[in-house]
């Protein structure tokens, strides 16, 4: 069955308002014959007459009043839909949801977002600070960016950048004057670091401790590097975190030390293999991958 189209509804409504095909055609920037054809086609599709001719005018039939109201709703709803398409195109309707950690969010992701909003100034973006694989799996995030994550088969990993584990101590700490420190030199220090089970970085650092014949026993575990930096309270405390945080943010009163031998880690982009990306998310991936550091 042929269907009435929204443009048919617009023409029928215009004729109802104007009373003549000439005036309706003028308002809609159509020819009069086009308007007449659309009326005839619409009446054929609907299977009922809508207007009657009276004294040179087209008058709505009394029984078609409810139909004309319904056609008004068609016009309104399709106008709403057209506006919604503009929102979809601009990235306003479907936000880009990125699950990450504060240190990656402040550096790598912030730079990529700056480039993304140049292309999509109206885009909505949600930065989710949570466990990226979990957020991706449950559909709460479109993309994840994390340090060497442990993921299921459905999540594809793309290496983006390298970072390393660094130590932060207070500036009044004797270690602060040195540029680097080894793990055995941290023996006996109060360590603020990640949980070995909950964080890939915690697992990496714990393994390095074990290789060095040391116990990995932080006195306080934290979810994010930034939390650790804020919790460094007294002389003798040491935090081991990723190097991205100090690249993105300066911490007054704290000194950075390289850890020797180096503990490298990789920042990976995570996408769900079985789930297509929005155009906004796909563009963000292009930006991230395009700005990948060599090596």
């Amino acid at each position: 069955m042929k269907a009435l189209t929204p443009s048919h509804a617009t023409v029928l409504r215009a004729v109802d308002r104007c009373g003549t095909t000439v005036e309706a055609a003028r308002r809609l920037h159509l020819t009069q014959s086009a308007v007449s054809k659309i009326i005839a086609r619409s009446e054929a599709v609907l299977g009922v007459p809508v207007f009657e001719r009276s004294a040179g005018r087209l008058v709505l039939l009394p029984q078609a009043r409810a139909l004309m109201r319904a056609l008004g709703d068609v016009e309104d709803e399709w106008a709403t839909l057209r506006r919604a398409v503009v929102d979809l195109r601009s990235g306003r309707a479907l936000p880009l949801r990125i699950a990450s950690t504060p240190s990656i969010g402040q550096g790598l992701i912030a730079q990529a977002i700056r480039r993304l909003v140049a292309d999509y100034p109206q885009a909505r973006i949600e930065l989710i600070m949570g466990d990226a694989p979990t957020e991706l799996s449950k559909g709460a995030a479109d993309l994840g960016v994390m340090f060497s994550p442990r993921v299921t088969d459905d999540i594809a990993l793309t290496p983006l950048a390298r970072a390393a584990i660094i130590a932060l101590v207070r500036r009044d700490d004797p270690l602060a004057r040195r540029g680097s420190v080894s793990l055995p030199e941290l023996r006996g220090r109060r360590l603020i670091c990640f949980d070995r089970e909950k964080s890939p970085l915690g697992w990496l650092i714990a393994r390095a401790y074990e290789r060095a014949g040391l116990d990995y026993a932080p006195f306080m575990t934290v979810p994010y590097s930034i939390s650790a930096a804020h919790l460094l309270a007294r002389q003798g405390d040491v935090i081991l975190i990723d190097s991205l945080l100090t690249q993105a943010q300066h911490f007054e009163g704290l000194a950075k030390l390289d850890v020797t031998p180096e503990l490298p880690t990789t920042i990976c982009l995570m996408t769900v293999r079985s789930r297509p990306l929005t155009r906004l998310a796909a563009r963000f991936v292009e930006i991230l991958v395009g700005s990948r550091q060599p090596g």
Binding site: A66, R69, L71, E77, V85, P276, R279
Partner: protein, 291 residues
């Protein structure tokens, strides 16, 4: 934005693939793919992605389909209005009802109103989505078990009734004049599920207050179903007492439920222009004033 293109996108999303959409629309798969690609260009949206070797709807396609639903609904309604003109029902009284009241207070009220109007009023009854139908001006009156408390809609309390138990006449409990909640322990109970839109569904409220909410084993939508299940001996139907005025309980035992809170039937209409005569007369009969 072409209607045909949107129909193809809708079929692609709903059926989950281009082959399935082609089958559903009765066209070739290549025509579907071509139409989707054209729609992508026309709308400047990404609609199709290749995921694990298969053409899959993108989130934009899913969202567009969701957003287009009201637009398709109003188009369907315009066709429906044309159908009503064709069958001589352009001028009709349109009523939306929850299933629980559809076969109890509504039929006698419609019969009474039509009689009062010398059989002039054509009536169209719709089920479910009562508030949506009323807000969208698809119906003139709606009836449900609770106030909607929605701006632009007026709630009218119609009448109250306690809950009753409907059971097969051969059921041992049919020998009693009335039943208590304790009598119903161990019995399989049949009743309605929540209507999902009332601010306070008085039927569910009554079930809850008498302690039966968690004890309903079979939820049904229609009073008829509840009565049929009781007739088949599947269980005891706990319904509102409005059912007594219908024929549904013929051959069944209807017993009062002691201590039952009252269930209130509500009518709803839009604020603004006054109701036309047919709607006013029906409203009186629904409230029991026109009988």
């Amino acid at each position: 934005m072409r209607l045909g293109a949107l129909q193809v996108i809708h079929a692609f999303v709903r059926l989950g693939g281009t082959g399935e959409a082609a089958q559903g629309l009765g066209v070739s798969q290549s025509a579907v793919i071509k139409s989707l690609r054209l729609a992508e260009q026309e709308l400047d949206l990404s609609l199709v992605a290749i995921v694990q070797g298969r053409l899959t709807p993108t989130p934009e396609a899913l969202e567009l389909t969701r957003l287009a639903r009201p637009a398709f609904d109003v188009l369907r309604r315009a066709h429906h209005e044309a159908d009503m003109i064709r069958v001589g029902m352009a001028d009709r009284l349109r009523i939306a009802t929850v299933p629980g009241l559809a076969h109890s207070i509504l039929p006698p009220a419609i019969a009474g109103a039509r009689h009062a109007l010398a059989d002039r009023a054509a009536v169209e009854v719709m089920f479910d989505h009562v508030r949506a139908h009323l807000s969208a001006n698809e119906v003139d009156l709606a009836i449900s078990y609770g106030p909607m408390a929605t701006e632009g809609l007026r709630d009218v309390a119609l009448r109250c009734s306690p809950l009753v138990c409907v059971l097969a006449e051969g059921h041992p409990l049919a020998l009693r004049d009335s039943l208590t909640c304790d009598d119903l322990a161990g019995q399989r109970l049949v009743s309605y599920g929540p209507d999902g839109f009332s601010l306070a569904d008085s039927f569910q409220d009554a079930l809850g207050r008498i302690g039966l909410s968690g004890r309903v084993a079979i939820t049904v939508r229609h009073t008829d179903t509840a009565c049929h299940l009781a007739r088949e001996g599947v269980g005891i139907a706990v319904v509102d007492g409005f059912v007594i005025s219908s024929d549904l309980t013929r051959g069944l035992a209807v017993r009062a439920l002691a201590g039952s809170p009252l269930v209130t039937a509500f009518a709803h209409h839009r604020d603004g222009p006054p109701l036309d005569q047919a709607a006013r007369v029906l409203l009186e009969h629904l409230a029991g004033e026109g009988a």
